[in-house]
Symmetry: C2
Subunit: 211 residues, 2 copies
DNA sequence: ACCTGAACACCGTTCAAGT
DNA sequence: ACCTGAACACCGTTCAAGT
């Protein structure tokens, strides 16, 4: 049973989808690959390196097929949507990517695309980098929330009940009224709202430049 | 050596500041408290419960002393700034809070304050909840980045060098020019920029309501 | 070059037994 | 009520030895 770096990586993604990030151990991965305990360490120096490679794999193709004819702010929204879709395509995908710190190619390609769009509209590299980072953080954080909500036992009903109890506290009247919208709502509308806030902020700055 | 829930919690925060989240184990905490291995389990049912309590402790007081006379968007910015300061006050504070899922009182108080401000300006509870959530996610994610950058060995110089090497790749020209602004810049300006984007987006929606 | 087998130094959690 | 002591079932990582 000859192993390769790619086989280890593919097996790791497979196992991630099966058991989730919490249960993804190097030992379990070895078992999944039908190999002895330390075998994976020949292909990856440590677990973190494997996780970075997984994050890179999850983000593959996010900069493909962008509609360059669309208005710049729609291109940004499209790009963010593709990243979100990529994260949602794997169990705990958002958390895996959030934990990756090293500059892997696919994450860089995504950042480059976002910065290029903003620089193209006249923002400084500093503003473009910070703006792209804000979007990036939003997409990952929001998708972590979505996947956490998904993963809740019995579709989160017990969690919702516990939340409702706490919100009976008279100190939190508005939170109580907003209850249905507190836990990350599945579907695109919730995601689009927060993204829209950030992009609107960027539009203001781009328009200020233009005048 | 009589233990209490509060003593365990205080010891845990102390140990967090000393060794960081990665090295904060239940066993090490017991040693730090001068007590046997399983002793902490009488006061907290599991590690996650302790971490939630720590997150709550870190967020203590974030809703105090808000300037109710200030414009609403400045109140929001103030609130976000106080949360960031609270997270920065402890090693890995942002990551601890990010990992807390249960609705603890201080996090709820913060959410309530933010939602109340937005509802007070005419937004629906849905928009207010989503807007507050976007700010919340931003503050935590951005502060995680800041604390990660801080924690880098030799002030991140080796990391910056590795990044510079990767960015020699001609595929990433804009990222390369933006290099000094890619890693979370310490100080308030970087933080304020992203926060300003979100708040500006909210201002547009509040103004749309008013007219 | 690539993998096995076994070890090292840890984890979180449980629980009878003590006080 | 609160803690000890010891165990259970795991971890990530290393490394001589094999092929």
């Amino acid at each position: 049973v000859r192993l390769t770096r790619d086989a280890v990586l593919a097996g790791a993604i497979e196992l991630l989808d099966e058991v989730g990030l919490e249960s993804l151990s190097m030992r379990r991965l070895s078992a999944h690959l039908g190999v002895q305990n330390g075998a994976t360490y020949w292909h990856f120096p440590h677990k973190q390196a494997l996780l970075e490679a997984m994050a890179n794999a999850i983000l593959a193709g996010v900069t493909d097929d962008l509609d360059r004819a669309a208005p710049w702010h729609e291109q940004l929204a499209q790009l963010a949507g593709k990243v979100r879709a990529a994260l949602l395509a794997h169990r705990d995908g958002a958390r895996v990517v959030a934990g990756a710190f090293a500059p892997e190619p696919n994450a860089l390609a995504y950042g480059e695309a976002a910065i290029a769009i903003l620089v193209g509209r006249g923002l400084s590299h500093r503003e473009a980098a910070w703006g792209a980072g804000t979007i990036s953080n939003y997409v990952v954080a929001q998708t972590i929330d979505e996947q956490a909500a998904e993963a809740l036992p019995d579709h989160g009903r017990s969690h919702a009940r516990r939340l409702a109890e706490v919100l009976a506290d008279p100190r939190f009247p508005h939170t109580r009224q907003a209850m249905p919208h507190i836990v990350a709502t599945p579907g695109d509308e919730h995601f689009a709202y927060g993204l829209g806030l950030i992009i609107d902020g960027l539009r203001r700055r781009v328009e200020a430049r233009a005048s």
